[in-house]
């Protein structure tokens, strides 16, 4: 392609970065999903096999904290990618590559907010409900 021709390498690097940011959109909800599945699965097996529910609850609460930290990290990276403080652009509806880049950051950031709420909600039963009954 004639005009603003980036070299093959540049192209590849940029593409890889965008692939990463497309993936980053789903990263926070993915952490939520993993957290959810682990909590559900472990509690189900624990109750069925009569393992020590108290220990499992404690372990899962620590795991929840880790999940929250992970989502926080994803959210922070996404916030930086969105870069609204500098651009002042809340809408990201332009047609340039930067707009798309910022947009993906924005979406990923919002999804990490939702995922934080999701993980906190799912951890509540671990705190409030004692046994398997």
């Amino acid at each position: 392609m004639a005009e603003r021709q980036p070299t093959r390498d540049e192209d590849k690097r940029e593409f890889a970065e965008e692939q990463a940011s497309l993936f980053r959109i789903t990263l926070a909800p993915l952490v939520w999903a993993i957290h959810f599945v682990v909590c559900y699965g472990l509690v189900a097996v624990t109750c069925a096999k009569e393992w020590d529910i108290v220990a499992v609850r404690t372990g899962l609460l620590i795991f929840s904290a880790c999940a929250l930290a992970g989502i926080g990290w994803v959210g922070f990276a996404a916030w930086k990618q969105w870069n609204v403080a500098e651009t002042g652009d809340f809408v990201n509806r332009g047609g340039r590559a930067e707009d798309r880049h910022h947009f993906l950051g924005h979406a990923a950031f919002l999804l990490s907010v939702i995922s934080v709420v999701g993980v906190v909600f799912v951890s509540l039963p671990l705190i409030m409900i004692g046994g398997c009954q």
Binding site: F90, V113, V117, F121, L124, P125, M128, I129, G130, G131, Q133
Partner: protein, 338 residues
């Protein structure tokens, strides 16, 4: 028995807790609602109905706000608003408000979630779901053998009773709305729910999981009694049948055996010892016949015997070809099994 008379309300009073036109109207209309979750007579049902009324009030307010805003925006003032408001409404209405409301509700919900499975105070009742009736066993604390009954559940007021549930063939669900939530009954598995009834009275329970042709007719009465009365009743229930001695009833008793009813039904103290169908030892003392299908009056028992299939489609019990007098005799006998 003080609480006979299925089909008549025993409690007809407006709810004191919730004042308001709509609510009191519903409560008055609710008079005679034996199967209503909004007329609670047990601890769990009460806490759930309180939760419901609060959520309903909140829901009405939120619904009016959101739809009012839509109406205002599209009909009353279709012009442009300041962008600032739009952002506030998105963040405030979309994130902040729901997070606050939902967290509150979730904490409330979780705090009462384990209640219906709290251990009981001693008495255990085992109920097996059959197509389409209920096999009931009472296990007083320390009992070695159960007291067998069917299609009626009696509970002492003021105590928490553990109900252990299972099923013979398909999935059913045990539910007495006035006393608490429901719990499914599975073949090959035991589930548990405990009920803490408070107000003596007669309530209706019904199977809540679709279980085949006559799912609609799988009901029972749940009778809550003062603890003393309950103990007396349980002792009577444990005893063998005391067959009525009048002439027709005696003919009916013979008919019961000669027609082969005993192959399926048990009447303790007689030769009838079948286990396929409900135990009929004290069927005359129950409020209903056919698992809540009809009141257990003489006429209705006769009707049941004469039109079983029509009253309860695909039921296993055949409709017997009996003469009118034979029907009378048999009904007389069953009704007399107090």
């Amino acid at each position: 028995m003080a609480v006979k008379n299925f089909g008549q309300g025993t409690r007809c009073r407006p709810s004191r807790r919730h004042i308001g036109t709509l609510v009191s109207l519903l409560s008055v209309a609710g008079c005679g609602l034996h199967q209503s979750a909004l007329n609670p007579a047990g601890r769990d049902a009460t806490s759930i109905s309180t939760l419901f009324w609060v959520m309903l009030a909140g829901a009405v307010v939120l619904w009016l706000l959101v739809n009012g805003a839509f109406f205002y925006m599209s009909r009353v003032r279709p012009g442009q608003f300041d962008q600032r408001y739009a952002r506030h409404i998105l963040i405030g209405g979309g994130i902040v408000l729901p997070v606050v409301v939902l967290t509150t509700l979730l904490v409330w919900g979780l705090s009462i979630l384990p209640d219906p499975r709290r251990p009981g105070d001693g008495l255990v009742v085992r109920i097996t779901g059959e197509q389409w009736w209920w096999r009931v066993e009472y296990w007083p604390e320390g009992a070695e053998d159960p007291i067998l009954s069917a299609n009626e559940l009696r509970l002492p007021a003021g105590e928490r009773t553990e109900i252990r549930l299972t099923s013979a063939r398909v999935i059913h669900s045990f539910w007495v709305p006035a006393l608490g939530g429901k719990m499914d009954m599975f073949p090959g598995r035991e589930t548990m729910i405990s009920l803490a009834p408070e107000k003596p009275g007669s309530y209706r329970g019904q199977c809540a999981e679709f279980c085949g042709a006559s799912h609609a007719w799988m009901a029972f009465s749940a009778v809550v009694m003062d603890p003393g009365a309950f103990d007396t009743w349980l002792a009577a229930e444990a005893a063998d049948a005391t067959p009525p001695q009048d002439e027709a009833a005696v003919r009916g008793a013979d008919l019961f055996l000669s027609e082969g009813c005993g192959a399926c039904h048990t009447i303790r103290g007689t030769d009838a010892a079948g286990l396929v169908g409900p135990d009929l030892t004290h069927v005359g003392s129950r409020q209903t016949i056919g698992a809540g299908r009809l009141p257990a009056t003489l006429d209705d028992i006769r009707l049941w015997l004469d039109h079983t299939e029509a009253l309860k489609p695909e039921v296993k019990m055949p409709t017997y070809d009996l003469s009118p007098t034979e029907l009378d005799d048999l009904a007389q006998y069953l009704e007399g099994l107090k």
